[in-house]
């Protein structure tokens, strides 16, 4: 009866995550804001880890120096 398992009638767009009916896939255009939200959601663990990584790096000699340079440039601006 089937040459393969049944395919879903709907699939999420790989770029924006929106549910799209297969027959309408060719005419689908991503909403830019939704695409950005989708990308941010996929990177949520990395984004959450970034603050901790940055805070740790700022305690290193390189980090302290970079922070000092940045502060000097900010004052000079």
């Amino acid at each position: 009866m089937f040459g393969s398992f049944p395919q879903s009638r709907y699939m999420p767009c790989t770029e924006c995550g929106t549910s799209v009916e297969r027959t309408a896939a060719a005419s689908h255009t991503c909403d830019r804001e939704r695409a950005l939200d989708f990308r941010l959601f996929q990177l949520r663990d990395e984004i959450a880890a970034f603050d901790a990584q940055l805070a740790a790096w700022l305690t290193t000699a390189r980090g302290r120096f970079a922070a000092w340079i940045a502060e000097r440039d900010r004052r000079a601006a």
Binding site: F5, P6, S8, R9, M11, G17, S19, F38
Partner: protein
């Protein structure tokens, strides 16, 4: 209230922020048979637990009733659900993907309360949409 209306509210209202209103329509003796679940849902607590699991996984979810047929104390309701998976579901990490799922609830309603339901929905499609199982798999390779 007409039994079709009760069946519709039980399906749609939890997704409109009215879970407690829907629970008022569920009998204490309720038993729900969900395709793919080894144990039936029992009572209002069982119903609440089941719905809450999906409300948590798809917080922006909504269900639309597509069609209903009633005969005696039985209502068949065909529905379409759509929602974005932003929390883990049954051990599946959240995907951020929006899914659309079709299903049928077959409900027995007496004295304005839902007593029994048989819920059948396209689980394979949901898992394909979430990327948990491949979209296509040639027969005989499983």
């Amino acid at each position: 209230m007409e039994i079709k209306e009760i069946a519709r509210r039980v399906v749609e209202d939890p997704w409109r922020g009215k879970l407690n209103d829907a629970l008022q329509l569920v009998g204490d003796d309720y038993i729900g048979y969900v395709a793919g679940s080894p144990e039936p849902l029992r009572g209002r607590d069982g119903f609440r637990e089941f719905i809450t699991m999906y409300l948590t996984a798809f917080p922006d979810g909504a269900i639309t009733v597509d069609h209903q047929i009633a005969e005696g104390d039985i209502v068949a309701t065909r529905w379409t659900a759509r929602g974005t998976n932003t929390s883990d579901l049954l051990g599946i990490p959240a995907t951020g993907k929006q899914v659309t799922i079709e299903g049928i609830s077959y409900s027995r309603i007496t004295d304005e309360k839902l007593r029994e339901s048989w819920i059948i929905w396209d689980t394979l499609s949901m898992l394909q949409q979430l990327g948990v199982v491949p979209e296509t798999m040639p027969a005989g390779t499983a």
